[in-house]
Symmetry: C2
Subunit: 450 residues, 2 copies
Amino acid sequence: MPTFDEYVAQNRERFLNELKDFTAQPSVAAQNLGMREMADKVLARLQKLGAQARLIPIADGFPVVYGEIGSGAKTLLIYDHYDVQPPEPLDLWTTPPWEPTIRDGKIYARGVADNKGDLLLRLQAVESWLATEGALPLKIKWVIEGEEEIGSPNLGKFVAAQRELIQGADGCLWEFGAKDSHENPMLICGLKGILYLELHARGANRDLHSGAASIVENPAWRLVWALATLKNERDEITIDSYNDYVREPNALELEAASHIPFDTDLELEKFGVKQFINGARDFDAVKKLYFTPTVTICGIQSGYTGAGGKTVLPNHAFVKLDFRLVPDQTPELILDLLRRHLDAHGFADIQIVQTENGEHVARSPLDSAIVQAAKAAARATYQRDAVVYPTAAGSGPMYDLCQQLNIPAVSAGCGYPDTRGHAPDENIRIDDYFQSIVFIRELIRNFADN
Amino acid sequence: MPTFDEYVAQNRERFLNELKDFTAQPSVAAQNLGMREMADKVLARLQKLGAQARLIPIADGFPVVYGEIGSGAKTLLIYDHYDVQPPEPLDLWTTPPWEPTIRDGKIYARGVADNKGDLLLRLQAVESWLATEGALPLKIKWVIEGEEEIGSPNLGKFVAAQRELIQGADGCLWEFGAKDSHENPMLICGLKGILYLELHARGANRDLHSGAASIVENPAWRLVWALATLKNERDEITIDSYNDYVREPNALELEAASHIPFDTDLELEKFGVKQFINGARDFDAVKKLYFTPTVTICGIQSGYTGAGGKTVLPNHAFVKLDFRLVPDQTPELILDLLRRHLDAHGFADIQIVQTENGEHVARSPLDSAIVQAAKAAARATYQRDAVVYPTAAGSGPMYDLCQQLNIPAVSAGCGYPDTRGHAPDENIRIDDYFQSIVFIRELIRNFADN
């Protein structure tokens, strides 16, 4: 019988081909593209592994792929998602997003990092364990949803309906992760909350010749003025009462954050900017990144934006806004504050359209067994200490699946700083991918033993 | 020999088919679409009329169609353009923009009002004169350019190069016009100036996951903040020194404007709005419309604006702005003030891209022979007095062709209040079209006799 490492080496080509197959399949929940095909692929892969697996339907949504395998004193929950971000803008991809391509030891495709790489390598790690180590020393339960990139609107309802499947798990391995720019493995123990919505302003009953602009209100101007009341040039969020709900990080969180390496000049170079907002550097930038809320214009559109000139007074303008939340903010609270703010500042005419469910802030205890097992696994795999993050800058439905049920969670995965998640040329390094397979072996071993 | 009216009646079907043929031909200068084909059609129609006509090439531009016919003591210059606005957004057209369609006595097509209808009916009027009245009593010179909708970037150079063709004309019939909502014919004796440009803000070297938004500057926010310094919610243009160059209308202009009928409630209903900006009504709205400058967001774009949600931090944002100018503003001055203003308010990073040449403000003396002839022609055609506008709310290259050479100009044409120029479902009423043919006969007669 080969060793685990030998087995992985022998199956390297097949494992990569499986990854290409997974990422060649579009699965964009926001565009209802290829979702059933992808769910079926994931289900088949779980079944091939020997897991008891099935699709659990979601009313008016995309099914959850659920699987179980192994037995033992401990239960490890694994959360992944088979949906990915929209691939646009297409013209900025070096090779097409649905044509996985290897260049310079990296594999490029939409979703290869977020989250199909980690989703698949965890299955391949279990396959390799079973083929070389024998039975699993614990029970693994997979919840692989299809709506993460649209804000997991149904995961809370899924958990409520399937509570007996999930509760009692001893820890959860969350979907994503990466090495930092110093090649340290990162362990993420929390997530920001999020509220995503659109603001719409409307004017005349049709687009007009712009000669009418001296008397007919322009919704694009109204939207600009409304937006300018939400955040100012000093990066202060100016929504009424907004900052009353921002809890400062506690001493433990600050201590952990103080170990987060942040090479300001390297980060500046990576992003291609001369300075960060308000000139923040080093630990100030770290605190800003992880412990402050944001209001982001993700998209804005009005009128004619094609080639050449068109002298038109548009009759509609909209913006897509993403609010990243910290304790004690909640999506419901922020939505309410925003509506009150707009009304109070003369923008009662601006319509709020919440296109996705919000997500709650999540934090896990840093001394929980799953975090400790992940730290040990990282040390064994990478021969160095992991950096422990009290929270990521991003969001996800961790609260719904984990903290709500008192399941501590840690996130770790195969990305690296230039992974370009949610952007053109998303990619992972192939060596990281295979190291992550080893990390899963170590996590299983350490979590079962603790 | 038939009378003029009989001849027009006999040729009604052919005249309409010629109009359909002209409007079925796309000719969008901004998109370089169908321009040569359209120039050739116009040239052929002039030659069919018996005019001495030719294409005068424009370096790096679209040719001017020039024609001459007739002789007499007076010379009437006619200015039209064979280019039209882009047809987007296509989905808001009831029938496709390049498929001229008759419904309820109206003909719908991109360019049917602005300006192919008037362009063609003036030729058909001269044809009808020659077939029924004999020789023309004056000389007519046509300048029909192909770049009006992109700001006539080359008309000034054309006039400089072809000055001997144009100077000495006794008056000019300008390209457009309409009946007002009381069915009064309108005579337009001036135009606002215009400056059209884009502002661009740039951020990181690529689109980022919006988790980075707490430290990486968002160009969409920067553009919003910059725009909010240009105009406020009270509709005051707040560009530094901008209002120092706004000359109030003089007594003569105000007196003419006081005869402009403006049924506020009818106009509100037409545009589908509850009130005009700052609640302006009646003569206040008229003065606002014709005598104040504007800054209009014609288009704005950044990030992801497709279906569903995308949590992206965009790296580029741009806006298309249209500045309508009044005396003593000039495009060059406003461009300079805008750059200084942005620099002074912390937006030196915002790039200005002037995509089209500006146009100067134009005004003609209201007692000139061409205005008097047009008033008499309107009275004879429509059995009522025309309303004389010191200026339109819109712009055009009138100054370059006319005022610069001391040629008074008046604009009159076949539109009506629901003509939807520059917008989906552009249309004219067929009865107006044929009345305008009679108006041209009367204008030729009255201008030659004065």
